[in-house]
C-alpha cells in the first residue's frame, strides 16, 4: 500500500515538487524499497531524456521562404481591391430583357398582393355561385333522398 502511494507521487518527488517533509518520507522509503528505487530511476531516465531532447536544426532556406511569404502577404494586403463601378447616367433604370423593371415600386407590389388577397377571400366567402339557388325550380337529388328517409322513420317534415 505504501508502495502504491509512493508510486503516485514519484514524478513529483523526482522533479522536486513535493514539500520537504514529503520528500524526506519518500527518500526514506525509496532507499529501503528496491521496487520503488527502480521506479524512481525510470522516472529520472524519462525526465533526463525529455530535458536533453534534441531540437531539430532549422532547415536551410526556411528564412527565405518565410520572408517571401510575408512579403506576398503584405503585397496582397496593400493591393487596392477591385471596385464595382455602375454608371447611372447612361442607364438610370436598367431593364431586363423582357422589359420589366428590375426594381418594381413597393406600392405596386403591395397593391398586387392586396388584390390577390381580396380575390382569394371573396372566393372562399361567396364561392363561385350556384345557379339553382337563385332559380328555385327543382330541389337537388340529395334533398329528396333525405326527405324520403325521414318519412320512413315516421317523422313528417
Amino acid at each position: 500500500m505504501i508502495c502504491s502511494l509512493v508510486k503516485n507521487l514519484m514524478d513529483l518527488y523526482v522533479t522536486g515538487r513535493l514539500a520537504e517533509f514529503e520528500a524526506r518520507w519518500m527518500k526514506t522509503h525509496v532507499e529501503s524499497c528496491g521496487r520503488c528505487a527502480a521506479e524512481a530511476a525510470a522516472w529520472e531516465t524519462l525526465f533526463e531524456g525529455l530535458r536533453v531532447f534534441p531540437a531539430a536544426p532549422e532547415p536551410a532556406g526556411l528564412k527565405a521562404v518565410l520572408k517571401a511569404a510575408v512579403s506576398a502577404a503584405v503585397r496582397a494586403e496593400n493591393a487596392p481591391a477591385p471596385e464595382l463601378v455602375v454608371d447611372r447616367r447612361s442607364d438610370p433604370e436598367p431593364e431586363l430583357s423582357d422589359g420589366c423593371r428590375r426594381d418594381p415600386a413597393p406600392s405596386l407590389v403591395f397593391a398586387f398582393g392586396f388584390a390577390v388577397f381580396f380575390v382569394s377571400v371573396s372566393m372562399s366567402v361567396f364561392g363561385p355561385g350556384v345557379s339553382s339557388q337563385t332559380s328555385g325550380e327543382s330541389s337537388p337529388a340529395g334533398v329528396s333522398q333525405i326527405v324520403s328517409s325521414t318519412s320512413v322513420s315516421g317523422v313528417r317534415l
Binding site: 514524478d11 525526465f47 525529455l50 531532447f53 534534441p54 531540437a55 521562404v65 518565410l66 511569404a69
Partner: protein
C-alpha cells in the same frame, strides 16, 4: 510591423524547433512556422513592442497548432512500434558525446528514439503541455500563459501525459 524580416532572422530557428517538437515532422513544422509568422503579421496591431516578440510569437505558434489540430479533427499518425526508424524528432540525430563510449552513445540514442515515439503517441494537448513543461523546462504558469489555459488544466494534462509516457516506456515482457 516593419521589422518582420529582422524578427524572422532572430526567431525562426527557435520557432522551428518548437514546431518540430509539436508536429513531429519537417513538412508540418515548416507550415506551422509559416502560418505563425503570417498570423503575427496579421495581428501586428495587437503586438506591444514593450514585450518580447519571441514570446508573443511562441504563443501564436502553440495556438495555431492546437486550433489547426482541432479543426482538422485528426490525430497524428501513430506508429505501431515505438519509433526507431528516424522519422521522429531526435531519432536519427545522434548525440555526439566525445567522452561517451560507442555502446553508451547507442544506448542513449535508443532511449531518445523511444522517448520521441512516446511523445508522438500523445494527444496534441498533452504533447503541447509536456513539451513546454518537461522539454523546455517552463513553469506551469508560463505554460498556462502560452496556451491560454488555466494553470490547473496545464498541471492536470502534464500529470496525465507523464503517466502515459511512463507506461509507454515501461519495458515489455
Amino acid at each position: 510591423m516593419g521589422d518582420i524580416d529582422k524578427f524572422i532572422e532572430q526567431y525562426s530557428a527557435r520557432a522551428y524547433a518548437a514546431a518540430y517538437r509539436l508536429t513531429g515532422n519537417e513538412a508540418d513544422a515548416w507550415d506551422l512556422v509559416q502560418e505563425a509568422f503570417l498570423r503575427a503579421l496579421e495581428k501586428s496591431d495587437l503586438y506591444d513592442p514593450a514585450f518580447d516578440f519571441g514570446g508573443w510569437l511562441y504563443r501564436i505558434l502553440f495556438r495555431v497548432y492546437l486550433n489547426r489540430r482541432r479543426a482538422q479533427g485528426r490525430r497524428r499518425e501513430i506508429p505501431l512500434e515505438p519509433a526507431c526508424d528516424g522519422d521522429s524528432p531526435g531519432a536519427g540525430e545522434p548525440i555526439a558525446a566525445r567522452e561517451e563510449s560507442p555502446p553508451a552513445i547507442a544506448e542513449r540514442n535508443e532511449a531518445m528514439a523511444r522517448i520521441s515515439g512516446a511523445l508522438d503517441r500523445l494527444s496534441d494537448e498533452l504533447r503541447a503541455c509536456i513539451v513546454l513543461v518537461d522539454v523546455e523546462g517552463r513553469s506551469y504558469e508560463e505554460a498556462a500563459g502560452i496556451l491560454d489555459w488555466p494553470v490547473g488544466s496545464v498541471s492536470g494534462r502534464v500529470f496525465r501525459a507523464r503517466r502515459l509516457m511512463r507506461e509507454m516506456l515501461e519495458p515489455r515482457g
